[in-house]
């Protein structure tokens, strides 16, 4: 097994008296999809906010490529190549696909936009993810379907050599066909060597794409398993706390 790209060791986070993460350990491997599952309030959002640098952890160690790193703000996270695709997508409807993908990091020559260069890179990134549903990279995001928007948001995250992409419920609001498209995209993301951490409530999706499953229960990581070594029923048990995982963690 490869060495993990990101390793969280015993991270803790509390808000006042409420302890949300009570010593969580997690590994994300390059080229693999790790699913993070758990019921509402288990601490999934807090865990990824720490990784994104938005809400730093109180205690614990974060290793990136085996080296301890500090994640105190979003800039440090993005410098390491950690990108987050949030559930509510964070795209500007009034801008086109290229403009959205480059938002905040436009290519300029002499202080003015190099639209040709940006258009080329956006197009190449989408193509490298085998995106076939987008007809023109210059259409406004307001004209895109939910699946296409998710596609653009994911493509945006890998535009600048991302090494870890964190997806927050990428299929939550999608129909069947669009879910298939997005899951295929997530797989291709991993095939490119990116470490993918995918939060999902949908165990069907999880079992379809994930290599590993990590289950968070009330702020503790109760199971980290290879997908092939477990069943949907067991995972539901871990999520709800009715079953206890006794095997070794990956």
């Amino acid at each position: 097994m490869d060495s993990p790209l990101i390793e969280l060791i015993d991270v803790k986070k509390s808000f006042g008296p409420v302890s949300v993460l009570k010593g969580v350990s997690l590994k994300v491997f390059p080229g693999k999809i790790t699913a993070l599952v758990g019921d509402n309030g288990a601490g999934k959002s807090t865990l990824i906010k720490g990784l994104a640098g938005v809400q730093p952890y109180d205690e614990g160690e974060v290793k990136f490529d085996g080296q301890p790193v500090a994640l105190h703000n979003p800039r440090e996270a993005s410098r390491l190549g950690i990108e987050v695709v949030y559930q509510d997508l964070a795209l500007c409807d009034n801008l086109d696909i290229v403009q959205n993908m480059f938002l905040g990091r436009e290519e300029t020559t002499l202080g003015t936009f190099d639209e040709g260069q940006m258009e080329r890179e956006a197009s190449e990134t989408l193509r490298s993810l085998s995106v076939r549903t987008v007809k023109s990279v210059r259409q406004k995001v307001s004209s895109l379907s939910g699946g296409q928007r998710q596609t653009v948001a994911i493509a945006r995250s890998v535009l600048k050599s991302a090494r870890v992409v964190i997806l927050d419920e990428p299929t939550a609001a999608l129909g069947v066909a669009q879910t298939e498209q997005v899951l295929a995209l997530v797989k291709r993301l991993a095939e490119k060597g990116v470490g993918v951490l995918m939060i999902s409530h949908n165990l069907v999706d999880v079992f379809q794409v994930a290599d590993y499953i990590s289950v968070l229960y009330l702020g503790q990581m109760v199971a980290s398993i290879e997908t092939s070594a477990t069943t949907s029923d067991d995972v539901v048990g871990y999520i709800t706390g009715s079953k206890t995982y006794t095997g070794a963690s990956i």
Binding site: L103, E115, E119, L126, Q178
Partner: protein, 428 residues
């Protein structure tokens, strides 16, 4: 555009063997025109309704009044409109954010009151250039003040600027003095609206406009070619240049006719026109091609997305209000030049017309949609209503009624086109 929005279809037929995903720039004139028509049908009409309205109104007034389509009235219309055009362009910067500046008019009032009091030959007699600088800087300071309360403190801009709208009327009264009225005595200021460029300078202006337009088009094409992405067919560029040349050429030729009534020949493009065009060009350049402009649209479209993309939302808002107040003072200079005096009520009534102009031109009050030139076109529509109805000798009330009706009509067109462009989203 709308063809790809059909949801729930699995991946469509494999893309043709081209290397890149399309960009809407491929194909000849026919493809481009049909793509444009498709965008318009999809609800992305931009300034089209306002341009159509302007043309219809011009035809209507030409038919109703023998004075409307005369060289003299034409020049008059441009100088009458200049103040509103500049104010509407100022407001576009904040309206793009989904904000509003109700104090833009009185801001120009305060700044111009300072100008006349400082430069009054019978009083402080400050050099007019210094006095003008003071008023422009006053505009910047006021803009930063508004920006502070809106962006930093987080008070809705409607409330902040409403407060200033009330407060600045008092400030203006204090600066000018009760019932006071100062005449503008500097020939340089009066010249902006009342003097014309020599005839040849009008043609030079046309050549410069075409040269700049050609240069930026060619530069864009070179960058796109270097990046290896398709360019629009070059014929479109020539068509655009010819259209600009013909329309601007007709306008300049008309303005270069003698429109004097007495012995003195009056001709040439009013000085205010090149100033306005320059600010329009510069502002459009900044909005379309620089980070500040792009981020303005991004914040107006989805402030949270902009923040997550690392854009300093507070700074962008701050800057937008500063630009707005600064340009509002420029519009105040135009107004003072046209009217020839500044009193305690200067600038009080114009701001809502400015907002109306922006909306009529196709700038969305919800933010994120619209261009600077839309504000300018909307202002021309409102100015042509005022001008044309004035020539018809109708009672003054009719003017307000018609302007209000046009505003609501424009807002309706905007809302309907929104439903059409967003309709597919809602259904999904």
């Amino acid at each position: 555009m709308s063809t790809t929005t059909t949801p729930q279809t699995p991946a469509p037929a494999p893309t043709p063997a081209s290397d890149l995903i399309g960009s809407g720039q491929e194909g000849g004139i026919r493809d481009q025109v049909s793509a444009y028509l498709q965008r318009v049908r999809g609800g992305d009409m931009g300034g089209l309704p306002a341009i159509a309205g302007f043309v219809v109104l011009c035809i209507l007034f030409t038919a109703l009044s023998p004075y409307f389509l005369t060289e003299r009235n034409f020049a008059n219309l441009l100088t009458q409109a200049a103040t509103l055009v500049m104010l509407a362009m100022a407001l576009v910067f904040v309206i793009l954010l989904g904000e509003i500046d109700l104090s833009a008019g009185v801001t120009s009032g305060v700044a111009m009151s300072l100008f006349v009091v400082l430069s009054d030959p019978g009083g402080l007699n400050l050099n007019w250039i210094l006095a003008l600088l003071v008023s422009l800087i006053t505009g910047i300071v006021i803009g930063m003040f508004i920006g502070f309360f809106v962006a930093r403190v987080g008070i809705p801009s409607f409330v902040v600027t409403l407060g200033l709208f009330l407060g600045f009327q008092g400030l203006q009264l204090i600066i000018i003095g009760d019932g006071g009225l100062y005449r503008i005595q500097q020939p340089e200021i009066l010249a902006i609206q009342n003097s014309n460029m020599p005839d040849w300078a009008g043609w030079v202006m046309l050549v410069v406009m075409i040269a700049i337009s050609l240069a930026t088009s060619l530069l864009d094409r070179r960058r796109r070619t270097r990046a290896g992405v398709p360019n629009r067919t070059i014929a479109l560029m020539w068509i655009r240049l010819v259209v600009i040349a013909v329309i601007a050429g007709i306008v300049i030729a008309l303005l270069n006719q003698n429109r004097g009534t007495g012995f003195l020949a009056v001709s040439g493009v009013p000085i205010v026109v090149p100033i306005t065009l320059f600010i329009l060009w510069l502002g459009t350049f900044i909005l379309d091609r620089t980070r500040f402009g792009r981020y303005l649209y991004a914040v107006g479209g989805n402030a949270e997305a902009a923040r997550r993309a690392g854009i300093k939302v507070v700074g962008i808002k701050w800057a937008a209000f500063t630009v707005c107040s600064f340009l509002a003072v420029v519009s105040g200079v135009f107004s003072a030049s046209k009217v020839g005096s500044v009193d305690a009520a200067f600038g009080r009534d114009i701001v809502l017309s400015g907002v109306a102009a922006a909306v009529v031109g196709g700038v969305s009050l919800f933010g994120g949609r619209g261009r600077l030139i839309h504000g300018a076109i909307g202002a021309l529509v409102i100015a042509v209503i005022t001008n044309g109805l004035g020539l018809l000798n109708l009672p003054g009330g009719v003017n307000f009624l018609v302007t209000g009706g046009v505003l609501i009509l424009a807002a309706t067109i905007d809302a309907v086109s929104r439903v059409r462009s967003g309709g597919s989203l809602i259904r999904r």
